[in-house]
Symmetry: C2
Subunit: 453 residues, 2 copies
C-alpha cells in the first residue's frame, strides 16, 4: 500500500507539469469570455474557466512512456488517468469561489431563506459531473449531502436515515442551527435532458424522455417527504425541489413549488428562455425579471411572504445558472459541440465531488456490484465505446470514503474497496483480461488517501 | 404473488394440524420439569417449553404428499418447511411471557437501571437462535434492535446510524424517554463457545477459540463506543456489555464492567458455576449470591452507587439465565445431546426473531450475496451437511422487512428479495439444479407478509 497524504500529492503533481499546466490555465483565463449577460459575474466565470482548464491540462500532461505492446500502452494510459484524477482530488481546489451572493455569504443567505441543509441528488450521468460548482454554483459548504443515482432514482430509506442524522445534530449540537429554528431540510432532485437531440442524448435510465424523467423523480421526492412525515411525529417535514438540466447548454429548469408547496412537472422556469429575455436588460431589470418569473411560476405575487424563502432560493439558483449558460455560450458558441458522453473515467463506490467538471467521470455509487449492476453495466458500456476504438483501457476507480474518527473505519473501507474491485473484475473478466479495463481502489478520509493493493 | 395476512396464516395453520399440535404441546407442558433451581420460575419454564414443543410439532406435522421422484420429494420437503416457518411467524407467539421481573414490568425496570434502549448483536450461529426468549429471557419490548453477524462481528458505522435514529426519537418525541433523562443506550455483544467440545463446537468464525471470539467482539464494542464519542459532541456515550454463551448448556458468562466501565475478556461471572453454588440455597440467599458474584466481578461493594444500574441489569440476566440452565438440565439431562448444528432452515436478508428456538434457523443478514458471501457459504455448507444425507433440499428463506408507512417501501423490498434470491441461485446453480437447494422470498411489514414470486 502506498500512502499519499494530499500535501505530497499536491507537491508531486506540481513539480513535473507545473509549467505546462500554468501556461494552459493562463491561456484559459485570458480567453475567458467577457460576460454577455448582465447577471454573469466575470471574475467568477474566469475562475471557473481557469479551474476547468487546469483539470483538462492535468489529463493532457504526458502519460507514462508509451509501451511497445499495445495492451500495456492501454493499461499505462488508464493507470495514468487514475493517478491524475487522484492527484486532482488531493490538490484540493478552492471550491468556495462562488461563496458570496450579492456580497453576503451564501450559507447565511440560505439559512435566512429557510433551509438548514441542502441535499442534492443528481443523475449519475457524467454530463452532470459539474452540477454543484458549474451548473448550480452552490458553495460546497452549503451542500450537506450529495449522492448520484442512475436516473436520479435515490433510495428513500437511506435519505430518511440521512435526514435523521442531520436533525440529531441540530438537537444535540445546534449545528448548523438549533432544532427549534424555523428552517427546513431541502432535498433537490436533478434530472436531465437534451434540448438539441432529445431522443438520443437524454437520460438513458428514463428512455430519453424528459417528462418521464421529471415525473419519476418528482414521485420519488414526494415519497421521501411522506416517509419523513409518516415515520416521525410532531410535524416533521422537509422541502423538496425538482430541477432539470439541458446537458447541451447547462441551462436549468426550476420547478418552483406553488403556494401550497405543490410541484408540477409541467410548470417550471426555463432558464434558457429567461437568458434570452434578460440578456438585453440592465442588471437591476434582469434581477427583477428573474424574481417575476419565479413568482409567476409559483402563482403568487412577488411579495407573497409564505413562499418567500423558496422563491428567493430558486431565484438564486437561476441567477447563478445564467452565469453558466453565458459561459457555455461564449466558450462553445451556443452549446457544447459534444452533446453526448466523453467521460475520461468511471468512479464507483462513494461519489467524488471535489473535482467538478462536465463529462469528467461517470459515477455509479454502490457498495456491491449486485445492488447496482445496471448502473455499472451502463457505465462500462459507455466508457468502452469511448475508449476501445482508441485502443485505450477504461480507467475505473473504486473509491470509498471513511471517517477517520471511527476506529476500524479505515480497515473496513479497505475491505469494501478490495471486495468491490474483485467483483468488478469477476464480472468483466474478459474485458480486463483483454487489457480493456483497468481497476484501482482508493480509500480516503478527507485529504488523506491511499491506493489499496 | 400470494398475499398472506398473518391472521389467515394463523387460521390456515390451525385447522389441519390443530389436534396433533395441541396434543404435542400438552404433553410438553405436563413433561415440563419441576424447577430444580430456587430462582427458576416454573410457570415461565412451562410456557417456554410449551412454545418450543409447538414449534417442533409444526415442523413434525405431515409434509405435502411424498412424491415418487426423490428430487421432487426433497423440494416438497423444503417448500413445506418454509411454509411452516412463515406460518409460525404469522401466528404471532405471545413473546411477553417473561415480561415481569419480581412483579415489575421489565421495560420499566430496565429504564430505572439506566438504559433506554437495548441493542443485541449475537453470532449468526443457529444455536443462538433462542437467545432473546430462552437464553437471556429479555421481553421483546425491551430490545430496540437485534441483528446477528457471523462471529457477532457487527458493522460499527451501521450501529452508529442506529444509535442516531434512537437518540433522535428521544429528542423529538421523548420516546422511550426524554433526551435529558440520565439513561444510556446499551449494546450487548454475544459470542459463543462449547464447554464440552471446545475445539470442534465453538464459533467457526473465530476458529473455535472462545478467548479469541470474546476479544474480537470486545474490541468491536469498544470501537462502537469510541465512534459515538468521536463523531458526536456534548458527552455522547453508550454502554456496552460482553456476554458469552456455552451452546451445550445455554449457560452464559457475563463480563460485568468494572467501576471505571472497563470490560475484561478474562473476568466474568460464569453462570454454570453460579448455578451449582446457588442451587442448594433458599431463594433469598440465591439472589444475594448472584448480587455478590456480580459485585465481585465488577470489583466494587454490593452497595456501590455508580455501577448500580449495570450491576442490577447483569444480575437480572444471570437470574433469567439460571432458569434456562435449569430447563436445559432437566429436559436434556445436563446439556444438549446434540451439541452441533441441527438447523432446519436458513434465513438470509433481514433477521427473523419472532420465532425463537435453538437451532431452528441459521440466519445470515445481508442485502447482497457479495457483501456477506462468507456467512452464506458457511450456512449452506452446514445445512447441506445436515440435509443432503437424508435426501432433503436445504430450505432457504430470503426475508426482507419493510416499513409500510414509507411509500414505495414494499416495492423496494420486493426488488431486494428477488435480487438476493437470484444471486443465491446463481452462486449455487449446481446445488439448486440438483434439487438440493430450494429458495423462496418473503417480504414483510409487521404481521402482513407475502411470498414474492
Amino acid at each position: 500500500m502506498i500512502s499519499m497524504p494530499a500535501r505530497e500529492l499536491r507537491r508531486g503533481r506540481r513539480t513535473p507539469q507545473a509549467a505546462r499546466i500554468w501556461a494552459a490555465t493562463q491561456q484559459a483565463a485570458s480567453a475567458a469570455p467577457s460576460a454577455g449577460h448582465p447577471l454573469a459575474d466575470a471574475a467568477l466565470a474566469a475562475a471557473l474557466s481557469r479551474r476547468a482548464a487546469e483539470i483538462e491540462a492535468a489529463f493532457a500532461a504526458p502519460q507514462p512512456a508509451a509501451q511497445e505492446i499495445p495492451a500495456l500502452r492501454a493499461l499505462a494510459y488508464a493507470h495514468g488517468v487514475l493517478d491524475t484524477f487522484a492527484g486532482l482530488i488531493g490538490r484540493g481546489f478552492d471550491r468556495n469561489v462562488a461563496n458570496l451572493s450579492e456580497g453576503e455569504p451564501a450559507a447565511e443567505l440560505i439559512a435566512r431563506w429557510g433551509f438548514h441543509a441542502v441535499d442534492i441528488t443528481p443523475c449519475a450521468d457524467g454530463r452532470l459531473a459539474g452540477l454543484v460548482d458549474y451548473i448550480l454554483r452552490v458553495p460546497p459548504a452549503v451542500v450537506a449531502y450529495r449522492k448520484s443515482y442512475a436516473g436520479a432514482m435515490f433510495d428513500v430509506e437511506e435519505s430518511v436515515r440521512h435526514w435523521e442524522s442531520v436533525e440529531l445534530r441540530r438537537w444535540r449540537e445546534a449545528k448548523p442551527n438549533a432544532a427549534d429554528a424555523p428552517t427546513r431540510f431541502l432535498k433537490i432532485g436533478v434530472y436531465h435532458f437534451s434540448g438539441a437531440d432529445p431522443d438520443r442524448e437524454g437520460c438513458a435510465a428514463h428512455g430519453h424522455d424528459a417528462t418521464r424523467a421529471a415525473a419519476a423523480l418528482q414521485r420519488r421526492l414526494e415519497e421521501f417527504a411522506r416517509a419523513v412525515e409518516a415515520t416521525h411525529c410532531c410535524g416533521a417535514s422537509v422541502a423538496t425541489l425538482l430541477i432539470g438540466v439541458d446537458t447541451d447548454t447547462d441551462a436549468i429548469r426550476v420547478h418552483v413549488p406553488d403556494a401550497a408547496g405543490r410541484t408540477d412537472v409541467a410548470r417550471f422556469v426555463d432558464n434558457a428562455a429567461l437568458y434570452e429575455t434578460t440578456r438585453p436588460l440592465a442588471r437591476d431589470a434582469a434581477k427583477e425579471a428573474v424574481r417575476a418569473a419565479v413568482a409567476a411560476c409559483a402563482g403568487v405575487p412577488t411579495g407573497d411572504p409564505a413562499s418567500e424563502g423558496m422563491r428567493w432560493f430558486c431565484g438564486y439558483l437561476l441567477k447563478n445558472n445564467l452565469g453558466q449558460v453565458d459561459a457555455v455560450r461564449a466558450a462553445h458558441r451556443g452549446g457544447y459541440a459534444e452533446r453526448g458522453h466523453t467521460e475520461r473515467l468511471m468512479v464507483v463506490g462513494d461519489a467524488v465531488d471535489d473535482v467538478q467538471l462536465r463529462n469528467l467521470a461517470f459515477q455509479a455509487q454502490m457498495e456491491t456490484v449486485e445492488e447496482n449492476t445496471f448502473a455499472l453495466d451502463v457505465g462500462v458500456r459507455i466508457l468502452r465505446g469511448l475508449h476501445e476504438p482508441r485502443g485505450l483501457a477504461i480507467p475505473l476507480l473504486v473509491h470509498f470514503a471513511y471517517d477517520e474518527r471511527i476506529p476500524g473505519a479505515y480497515e473496513r473501507a479497505c475491505v469494501r474497496a478490495r471486495r468491490l474491485r474483485a467483483a468488478i473484475l469477476e464480472r468483466f473478466a474478459q474485458l480486463a483480461g483483454d487489457g480493456l479495463l483497468y481497476v484501482r481502489s482508493l480509500v480516503r478520509a478527507g485529504d488523506r488517501m491511499e491506493f489499496v493493493a
